[in-house]
């Protein structure tokens, strides 16, 4: 009882520490705020919009940003602001889902491999190595022939190729802490394997996992846009930022806002995610305090 309490307290101070460090990392903090605003805008925004996504209006097409349509309208007279929100929902949903799914796969494989070691470890790591070094794009191309461009299939396809880094990190961390005293102690007291992994080992791997998941989020968003460019991403009419940006390229001269706005959202979001990842890396790593 007492030991658990102490541990809890330690955990709290650790998180307070992290928050302190993140706050000092002003750029990361700003990135967090902007990213939060973008998420809020995409998720809550449509509730306040008087337009509908699939509603077209041929009389008001290609209107430049104005008071009525503050981001203008596209070539079919659809409100770009609303499409940005809905597209953002899809893009972010893809990003977060891939991040989550690859996190689950990565943690599962990494922790199994690291904790049990032996033959299981070498088979799993061999597999991870192969997956890691196989050029993913050609395989993405093959897989996307099956999916037919639904959001779900894109998430699955991208997840399959983004868990390996995590698995390696988790395994490495576990290997290094497996031998430490508190794990040994838990084992001595007869705790089951699953319990040891969940209660003692996973929390220690949290830092690299969070950083990696953040970067995977960015990777998934940009990978979806790349697939869209090749015609293999999420298919219209479901909008994503990448797809809106690609579709707008032929209006570069006549209606530049069509490309500019989704481009800006995509760019700023990715910028935020990367700065955030960077800040988190510094904030979550206890060693960093030494350097500051």
């Amino acid at each position: 009882m007492a030991s658990e309490l102490i541990q809890e307290q330690q955990t709290r101070t650790y998180w307070q520490d992290v928050w302190q460090r993140l706050r000092r990392h002003r750029v990361a903090l700003a990135a967090l705020i902007v990213f939060g605003l973008i998420i809020l805008y995409s998720t809550a925004g449509p509730l306040f919009s008087s337009y509908s996504v699939s509603k077209t209006d041929l009389r008001s097409r290609l209107i430049a940003p104005s008071s009525e349509h503050y981001f203008g309208t596209d070539e079919l007279g659809r409100d770009i602001a609303l499409r940005i929100m809905v597209g953002g929902r899809v893009s972010l949903f893809v990003g977060f889902s891939v991040s989550l799914v690859s996190l689950l796969i990565g943690v599962l494989i990494g922790s199994t491999s690291g904790y049990f070691g032996g033959h299981l470890d070498s088979v799993l790591m061999r597999f991870t190595d192969i997956m890691l070094s196989i050029p993913s794009l050609p395989l993405l191309l093959i897989l996307s022939r099956y999916g037919g461009g639904s959001v779900l299939s894109i998430i699955l396809i991208l997840s399959v190729f983004s868990w390996m880094g995590l698995a390696r990190i988790v395994r490495g961390t576990i290997l290094s802490i497996k031998q430490r005293d508190f794990v040994e102690a838990a084992r001595m007291t007869g705790a089951r394997n699953g319990r040891i992994v969940v209660r003692h080992i996973l929390p220690s791997t949290l830092a690299p996992v969070i950083v990696n998941a953040t970067l995977t989020l960015g990777f998934a968003i940009i990978a979806e846009s790349s697939l869209s460019y090749l015609g293999l991403g999420v298919q219209p009419p479901t909008p994503t930022w990448g797809q809106m940006l690609i579709g707008a390229q032929q209006f570069m001269e006549t209606a530049p806002w069509l490309a500019l706005i989704p481009g800006l959202f995509l760019f700023v979001t990715l910028l935020c995610i990367n700065f955030l990842g960077d800040g988190l890396r510094d904030a979550l790593d206890p060693k960093m305090t030494l350097q500051n």
Partner: protein, 558 residues
């Protein structure tokens, strides 16, 4: 630490210098007084350049610079004799119809002294050679319903084609190709002797697929897969005048935005059929590029599931077409260049019937028709039948085509407006043609795609239930009002037997009236072919039926 900054500055600076030096000769090279090279842009790579084997559009485009046919189409969309001395006609006895036997024979006379690119003469043996391959089951396009029975070689320049039935257009198309027999007979025999997949054996020979012996103004000099095809002058070309352009360079530029930029910056002189209307209209800012819009017999249409409710009901078909603002789409997306289609024949064609029932945009009329068919708005404003089943029509569209995506989105919005439950389902072309359309039980709603018609307007392959093209065949074969329409079948039988063009057109007009009433497919709009031409190029004369390079001999490049 300053030293690092200095090193970095030097590094970046030197890279910039290298860049500028490398960029400098760009200007000079263009002014170089070298051979006149015409650069044609395409976004798709041809699969081969053998005349019997064109399956892609780029393929036939490139071939139009390399091959000449017995009969060609000119800029006026009319046929003219090219390798032939003259077009066959019933008047001079070169086209004889035996109405009783239901067969006919046509005499074709070749011009004398015409040469292949290896200097050998073109004779009717070359026609017979192609026919021999065509009638071999190993030929990839082999068809038992091929209309020619046999070829009778009278002399080196005269051949008689015996037709299995009555074919209406021997003066527009010689049904077989012309390939140099002295080159291809030994290769064909060799391929057959090898056994197995004979066509593959034959097709993988370099002299067949890549560097054929040709009779057109240019022959293939170099083909770098993924990059370009370089055509140079055929030294023996004498089917037409000697061309003034030295080389034709076909560049493969897969990204359409990159292609548009290459056109705008003058790197590509000519594109035909690749850029979108939007991109061509944006060329206004490039004064040296002229966009050309060629009216074409390409019908953008929706294939429908006619065998099951709701679209098995003619009234619903009429209603949903009335609910599409096709004029609005034309104005908004196409600047008025791609007008709504009212029939399967274009209004520019003499067989067009201007009095067919037209479905102009009228949401109220659409609702009235739907009410008549039993669909009325429910409490949520969605249309439903008396049992409460929603009127649900999914829209299947080919993914990756920007314009088609836009049109589908507009149709979806306009249908939703009047309460039809609908969603757009994009599928790949591969999937649409291999599974969706071939699998009627799984096909629901409508599928929007494009049909390319021929100026000869032959209805059988499209509109004769039981004998139409593969995709429609499955749909039309089952019991539906279109398959049950006896008058339609009767008319098509009569159209196919009618040799008098005027009478044939009259029959076609009656058939169109039935068609427009029944709506076996939903006509959406007529395409134009979009070409862009640099002002440096003169003489380019596109037409729907004519091949790109049909008159390349007369082109001039500044």
């Amino acid at each position: 630490m300053k030293r690092y900054s200095v090193w970095m500055a030097i590094l970046i600076f030197s890279l910039v210098i290298v860049g500028c030096v490398a960029a400098a000769p760009a200007g000079e090279m263009m002014e170089d007084e070298g051979p006149k090279v015409l650069v044609v842009g395409t976004s798709q790579e041809p699969e081969n350049v053998f005349v019997m084997w064109g399956s892609t559009r780029t393929g036939s485009d490139v071939m139009s610079f390399m091959w000449r046919k017995p009969i060609s189409f000119g800029g006026d969309n009319q046929p003219f004799a090219e390798i032939l001395e003259s077009l066959p006609s019933q008047a001079d006895g070169t086209w004889v119809v035996d109405e009783e036997a239901g067969t006919m024979q046509v005499t074709y006379k070749f011009r004398q002294g015409l040469k292949w690119s290896d200097g050998e003469e073109i004779t009717v043996h070359d026609l017979a050679m192609a026919f021999e391959i065509t009638s071999d089951p190993n030929y990839i396009y082999y068809s038992e319903s091929f209309p020619v029975e046999s070829i009778e070689v009278v002399d080196d320049y005269t051949a008689i084609l015996h037709y299995k039935g009555i074919n209406l257009f021997p003066d527009q198309e010689v049904r077989t190709h012309v390939i140099p027999e002295h080159v291809y007979r030994p290769l064909w025999e060799e391929a057959k002797a090898k056994g197995g997949n004979v066509w593959e054996n034959f097709g993988n020979i370099e002299q067949v697929a890549i560097k054929p012996v040709v009779n057109g103004p240019y022959m293939l000099e170099e083909w770098v897969p993924g990059s370009h095809i370089r055509l140079v002058r055929n030294p023996h070309f004498n089917v037409g005048e000697e061309p003034s352009i030295d080389e034709v360079l076909y560049r493969i530029i897969p990204d359409l935005n990159s292609l548009a930029v290459s056109v705008a910056s003058g790197q590509v002189h000519l594109t035909d059929g690749w850029l979108s209307l939007e991109q061509a209209n944006a060329m206004e800012s490039a004064p040296e590029v002229d966009p050309i819009f060629v009216p074409a017999l390409w019908l953008e249409h929706a294939t429908i599931q006619v065998n099951r409710p709701p679209l098995s009901d003619k009234l619903v078909r009429q209603a949903v077409l009335t609910a599409i603002d096709r004029d609005g789409i034309n104005e908004a997306l196409f600047k008025g260049q791609q007008p709504p289609a009212h029939s399967w024949i274009n209004s520019a064609h003499p067989a067009y019937n201007p009095d067919v029932r037209q479905y102009n945009y009228d949401p109220d009329e659409a609702l009235r028709l739907l009410a008549e068919a039993g669909y009325t708005p429910n409490a949520d404003g969605q249309l439903a039948d008396s049992d409460g089943n929603l009127l649900e029509i999914p829209i299947i569209t080919i993914s990756g085509d920007r314009t088609r995506e836009q049109v589908s989105a507009l149709v979806q919005a306009q249908w939703q407006e009047i309460g039809i439950t609908t969603e757009v389902k994009p599928v790949s072309a591969r999937l649409l043609f291999s599974e969706t359309l071939f699998d009627p039980p799984n096909f629901e709603g409508i599928a929007i795609w494009r049909w390319v018609f021929n100026a000869r307007v032959e209805p059988r392959g499209f509109w004769y239930p039981g004998e139409s093209a593969a995709q429609l065949d499955q749909l039309f074969a089952e019991g539906n009002t279109w398959a049950e329409n006896e008058r339609n079948k009767e008319l098509i039988d009569m159209i196919d037997a009618e040799l008098d063009q005027e009478k044939r057109y009259a029959l076609l007009q009656e058939q169109q009236a039935i068609w427009a009433e029944e709506l076996p497919v939903l006509p959406i709009y007529w395409h134009v072919r979009v070409a862009t031409v640099n002002t440096a190029l003169e003489g380019y004369q596109p037409a729907d039926q004519a091949m790109v390079g049909w008159n390349v001999e007369t082109w001039e490049l500044e």
